[in-house]
Symmetry: C2
Subunit: 339 residues, 2 copies
DNA sequence: AGGCTGTCAGCAAACGTTTTCAGCGCGAAG
DNA sequence: CTTCGCGCTGAAAACGTTTGCTGACAGCCT
């Protein structure tokens, strides 16, 4: 069992020392209610003589509130999570709430961890597709405020996400129609996350719209830079490379670019590559990564806002907030290269 | 003010329903103490009829323990933080403790945030160099268990870190002496973190030992991939490139490699590049990144263990635990290339 | 039968706050 | 001189647990 927490001064002690009641000290400490100047001075003196801070434990119990928001992610590596969390945090501290981050690391035992986290926060944001079906519903039915982030909208579950299908359709058609590439391949796993699924959906849809027939199946890989690198190596070993690679995110795209350069190939002359997210690195490579800009920070902020609102006034209708994304054409798709 | 937390069943209600006292329910719920089988069955029935879970708020107050550990980082992007945190978390859940992560984002107002976090955990791990001087001391003097992670050891502050100076010395001498490179440049900011400072120190020390005179000053950049890319672009614009680049971490090294490839240069034939950390991506590029392996996960785990021990039995002598690192020679330094 | 031991369960005190309610003193209004 | 209202303060009841102590009761040994 854990050792007792820091034993600082208590309301009692300060009260005794200042010759007032605990109620008065509480009022002074929080700067609310009516207290005469004279008393306030005495109490204040006692307070900072002991460097007194009200115990969060006591306060939390009395207020029946943890003063914290939770956010559940599959992991936390990479610019995407980092940005989303940062936005979420910003809104949280703005509301004087702490943030508890839970990276499930895709573990099997994550159920218990999530339950545990839910028990220490006033509301929970959950990334779509990371939790076993039913778990989220069970928490919501228990009365816990919950918001889904970047997930497939479900009945009675407020959701915040970004537009994926249409923009990936446009991106793919740019490759197919504008550039006339014939063999375009999708790098990413539609089963790994709702976002990836939507992107794959847009990819397939574009093929049909462009009259390009059924696309080749997705190359199922993770979302790290190394996954992109490895995918390209394998693809090359297996036969002639596609003319273009539409990657599920920027990191894998950059990994792919690196692999291609390593093979002595040129991007986009030999193989075109596109990404998704528009991370800081995307603008840098000589070719400039063609990608989709999505408001990651805003995504986090809006999620936090929705959650806070839900905590505040219980009732919350079904919400499905879809943030806009934007196609960013740079050079890696082939634009700017004399045909 | 936050809405009241989920209103689940309470010990009282369960007790009443099962016809026993709250003490008995508490005992059954936690599986401790002596309870007859008959009573236990009745209580258990009532418990899961209501899906009862003891309130963390009440429990925390009674036990005077938050059941949580805190960890303070400058940010949380990148494989390094991700791995360290993951190790830290593993030890924490093993001890049935939750983890609260605070990314200061290098903000000015972080002082208040840290104080706030310290007030909701039983112990705090702080990354070296991210907090204003004095703040850590103030917290420790207040009685909060604290462990420093990857920092410059200080009196009375248990510290866990990895070996940097000697290994960076060896790495640099490999470049200087074994390969005979004359102009080697350090990419990283010694003032940004203790680790970077130690690496720079090893870099400078190697120059003296190798009789190579004073090294050129560090190219002060951040730790992201894009920083490495940009640094190389600038360096090239400013004049002839160095023969080798010793980067403060793998991400900047890979950014540098990408920039060099983009310019049509070859690694290591034209410019050699080395990194630090040995992230998954390091082994992939054709040249194979020469780097230093450091046990990031173990670093996090050991930090958590030390913190837990400090929470358990108050007294804790000065500890300065230094984990071993290992030079990893791959191709990007020039090895394996016929001279 | 009387004492002893051991099992089981409840009472009540803590834990450190917030917040409601009532009371007190005092000046102003009637 | 009452009465009212107002500003200030304190007592005490929550909030939901854990845990030390006490007592009832049963079985067993002398």
């Amino acid at each position: 069992m854990a050792r007792r927490v820091r034993r600082g001064a208590t309301l009692q002690e300060i009260a005794q020392e200042a010759g007032v009641s605990v109620a008065t000290v509480s009022r002074v400490a929080r700067g609310i209610g009516q207290v005469s100047d004279d008393t306030r001075r005495r109490v204040l003196a006692a307070i900072d003589r002991h460097d007194f801070r009200p115990s969060r434990l006591g306060r939390a119990l009395a207020e029946r509130s943890h003063g914290a928001l939770g956010i559940v992610f599959p992991g936390l590596s990479g610019p995407y999570y980092s940005e989303v969390i940062s936005g979420f945090e910003e809104e949280a501290v703005h509301a004087e709430m702490a943030v508890i981050i839970l990276g499930t690391h895709l573990l099997r035992e994550s159920g218990e961890l999530v339950r545990d986290t839910a028990a220490r926060v006033d509301g929970l944001a959950v990334m779509g597709g990371v939790l076993a079906d039913g778990l989220v519903e069970r928490l919501r039915d228990r009365g816990d405020p919950i918001v889904q982030l970047a997930g497939r909208p479900r009945a009675g579950l407020p959701t915040v996400r970004t537009e994926n299908v249409a923009v990936f359709d446009r991106l793919t058609r740019h490759l197919l129609s504008d550039h006339g590439y014939e063999r375009v391949r999708f790098l990413g796993d539609p089963d790994a996350s709702p976002d990836a699924a939507y992107r794959w959906q847009g990819f397939a849809q574009a093929h049909r719209h462009a009259g390009a027939g059924e696309p080749a199946g997705p190359v199922r890989i993770g979302l790290m830079q190394s996954d992109g690198y490895i995918a390209v190596s394998r693809l090359q070993a297996a036969g002639p490379l596609p003319r273009a690679l539409a990657c599920a995110n920027d990191e894998t795209a950059i990994g792919a670019v690196l692999a291609l350069l390593d093979m002595g190939l040129r991007v986009p002359q030999d193989v075109a590559v596109t990404g998704f997210d528009d991370i800081p690195m995307a603008g840098l490579p000589a070719s400039g990564l063609t990608t989709v800009h999505q408001p990651m920070r805003e995504l986090g902020m809006e999620t936090a806002r929705l959650l806070l609102r839900q905590i505040e006034n219980d009732t919350q209708g079904a919400v499905d907030r879809v943030l806009e994304t934007q196609l960013v054409i740079r050079g890696s798709c082939g634009c700017g290269i004399p045909a």
